[in-house]
Amino acid sequence: MFKYILGRFGAMLLTLFLVMTLSFWIIRLMPMSIFEHPDVHPTIQKMLEEQMHLDKPMYMQYYYFIEGIITEGDFGTSVKIRPGMSAFEIIESRIPPTVLLNVVSLLFSIPMGIIVGTIAALKRGKWIDTLISFLIVICISVPSFVFASLLQYTFTFKLPWFPTLYDSAAGSFAAMMHSLTLPIIALALNPIATIARYLRGELIETLSSEYLLLARTKGLTRAQATVRHAFRNSLVPIANTIIPLITGVMGGSLVVEKMFAVPGMGGQLIDSILAGDHFLTVALLIFYSAISLCTVLIIDISYGIIDPRIRIGGRKE
């Protein structure tokens, strides 16, 4: 198991390095100098460019960029949004709401999706299954920002239960969660529906499998057999669908954060791209990937826990 985790961790570091390289080249190869502006005097522009190694060839800039990250943990400096402030500091202050929003949406949607999917599978063909399947189609096909608007309209304008925008002055965790409720729900609907849909299919298949029949010939009741034998087996393929969900949720949070004015990384990323603050954009992209890679790692590890074939499979018997 340890070897398996180590392997997954190594793969994650490699992916992160590739992400760093790709985002550096894609963003930095965009035309136009960062400091070109009618208000900036050409000599000052030249000086700034020298200071940031922008006068050097691209591969040297890449070298400085990687060197800075490895030796000093320096992800670059913001030049437009918060001139002079290190990108790392900006990100540091922006991480909590983003991580909270994304992780809570996922953590909330996994058990919800499992419950909904299980109900649909066990009541297969009944009206409740039809209803759930109908809602699943809606939740999968409608993007999260549409739900965000609908939720804002219903629960802040018509029924003033939640604040329309994120309350950045919120002191306590509870107050923070309260103002994050709507964006979390908006983000969670799609993953809930996706998980429920997969689990329903998987569970229906496992419920008709031979080993479930065997379990019932052992003298287990239908409920016992379902819980002990069908459930865990259905979770194995579900773990796989959660990985793409993470990226989906993170992508959705880019827009949803902006709509609810959550001072997270998503809003900052959009701002920095629009402002042409390339250093900050690259740093944000790296952190965004780092968060999703961490979640993927957690899923990979739990995969190993659920399925012994993954855990032991690597070992030669």
Partner: protein, 352 residues
Amino acid sequence: MENKKQETVLKVEDLRISFRAYGGLVKAVRGVSFDVKRGETVAIVGESGSGKSVSIKAIMGILAGNAIIEDGRIEYGGMDLTKVTEEDFHHIRGNRIGLIFQDPLSALNPIMKIGKQITEVLLINDKKMTKEAAKEKALELMRAVGIPQPELRFDQYPFQFSGGMRQRIVIAIALAGDPEILICDEPTTALDVTVQAKILELINKIKRERNLSVIFITHDLGVVANMADRVNVMYAGKIVETGTSEEIFFKPAHPYTWALLSSMPDLQTNERLLAIPGTPPNMIHPPKGDAFAARNRYALKIDYEQEPPYFKLSDTHYAATWLLHPKAPKVELPAVLQARIDRMRKSGEIDG
């Protein structure tokens, strides 16, 4: 070979089962009757879709959700199993009737330890049993079915076992509840030929040691010869011929049994294997008359109009074919088959 006054353990009477399907009701089992006595092996032979698996699933109470038991009784221990509710059935399964599945690869839960899959039966059926005692019993069962190094194997998963070893585990699970009837649903079909013989030997050994009644489902008459005391040949949801092993193998009376026997691979001749022409009938609209008529070289006109009754050949041997009617034309056994039966008799005499 067997004692005539043996006690009957299980009695199936005029069982009729249909499945709801898109095209209508699929009549899978159409009036099957047979009984099983203590300590004997009864084989049910037939090709795919003849209703043999469905009949035994009804005995275990694990029919699929769209199945309807339309008529008939399954008498066991003073109960009619067709009337037992799901809530009560799980006491019978596991405890009294064990089932061995066709495909050991898919019959075991892939992510549960082997040991736990066996002890589960013990713990569920005996509330007073401790985990340690269950483990001891499970190891004992694993030894009894011939698993080497049971202590090591106890904590392994199904994917670490070969097909034959998995089937032994499935047998151990079936035995764990200490049943009096063991149902084997094509237990060797999914296995290698060399492993097949070992599993059959194991089933025979267990049957003798525990005085079990065995219901053996197969499509392979070759397997039946070594296992069964009595044989029921099924076709299209009906038993077309029933008799002792000797009667079925040496004096077969139904053309379908002839066809099955002729299509058995035989090492002693170079003849082409005889296939049965055609396919089994569509059971949504079972044919009028004898269901086998359309594939039967010896079919008479009446076969297409009226179902044949059972004609008695001996106290134990019955066959449902119009050929046995006194007015029917005399049909000799096909020559190929007669030669084959003579050979079997000879080798049987040498063996026996």
